[in-house]
Amino acid sequence: MKLEIAEFPVKQIRLGRRFNYENQMLEVDETGLIDLVLQDPRISDASIAVAMPGEKTRITGIRDIVEPRYKVSGSGQIFPGILGPIEDVGDGRTHRLSNMTVIAAAEYEGTIRAGTTVQRSAILDMSGPGAEISRFSSLIHLVLNFRIVPGIAELEAHTVIQLAEYKIAHRLAQTTAELSPEKIVTYELGHQNPDLPNVMLLQGCITDPQHVHSGVGYYGLSLRDSMATFLHPNELFDGAVTVDTTRSGRGYYPSTWDWQNHPLVLGLYAAHGRSLNFGGVILQRIRFETYHGKEVGAQNAARLAEAMKADGVLVTWIGGGNAFVDVMFTIRACERRGIKTTLVTYENGGKEGKDSPVLFYVSEADAVVSTGSLDRTLNLPAMDKVIGPYEEIKIFPFPGAAPVSARGPLALEARDVMMGGADIWGQGAWQCTEY
């Protein structure tokens, strides 16, 4: 399976009257895009805005972030099972508009009051201390700002949001369909060098199996009580794994963009054939709700890695709370089978970094890379401009919480409400150091 990714970097976006890409400038047909979004009768109004790095702008109501991509050759189309037919993806050629994203910022109240499945959205600052933390503040964003009609339940709302953002992203990338790229990077996993160790990525994903969307979409299907499965990394580049947009607006969950640009996948690919053989990705469901489930899931993932002859695995996860116990059991199960592990994780640790950094330990987890903390306080300054559906936001999601002005300043207890608040997979250089 060989995938060529053709890169078209975007340094400017102009809201104009046609779709055109030239000299790293993307012009978009503003009314055309809005019409495209309003084709869905469940959206009552929509507007588009551009946010540039360095501006004193805050974006609110963020549900998801996606990079515009479009397949010009090869099997299937981006986001198989959602936008495209259910077909293999990951070969041929895919165009990407790099350095930019589409942000889905939607007003939606939800029907669920509390618990893990309540809807949430996040904010993003394009300058200031919030921008320093987030991996998204250095990208250019085309913000799709819209309102969902009242009375829509969570699964449908997710579909509305996801289709709107993916359709826009698809249309934008399609602008480059006939163009020749500046740069092409080729991704393939052939040529395993017998002198190099086999390394896989073991990606744990928190799921809520009872909820209408479990949180992880695999070719558009919610992963529920499944056992671990193998993925070719190219499938991720073409959007085979997606998120629940009503719940991915938070600092420690990935956006679609993160799945498309997974830093550990890209890192392993870069090292492939040089210091290691990249053996592929194991997608593992975590946060089983019984001890029995956690242990069975952990051993199953380890057994799959063993069957695929992994010498070592990079282990990382999505989630918080007791899902981490699954991760630790998985590390133990791998190490007991002779598969070496290194864990990539963010920490908690409280406001001053004096509390336990993580929930649970096993002695086998002796190789850990810390990507920083979700917990430290953050004071965000007032912004000149707010883009998004909310003039007022709730910093704390609980029934009866008081909203505060979105323009700021905002005193955050932790980074949960910031998109990219925690560097979950080691994209950046954040770290916690022991003093």
Binding site: E289, T290, Y291, N322, V325, L359, F360, Y361
Partner: protein, 80 residues
Amino acid sequence: MSKELEKAGLPVALVSAMFPVAMQVRANRIVKGVSIPHPCGDPSLPKELDARLRREIVRTALKALEAEVKGPTVFSPGIP
């Protein structure tokens, strides 16, 4: 939190599905809960059996409070 209660001299019967975590943080009297979202019962059972299971879990907790323990000990409710 339960350790602070114990430090104050109150024996604590901790009902939790995540007993490995409870053992690691050295809670001393641990009663196996059914599952994280429903520790004291099982919604997949018919109501009467679920209620009976709950009584068994609470009974086991009371037994744990009466038990002499030397360190983290797990008590498993019997099948009622």
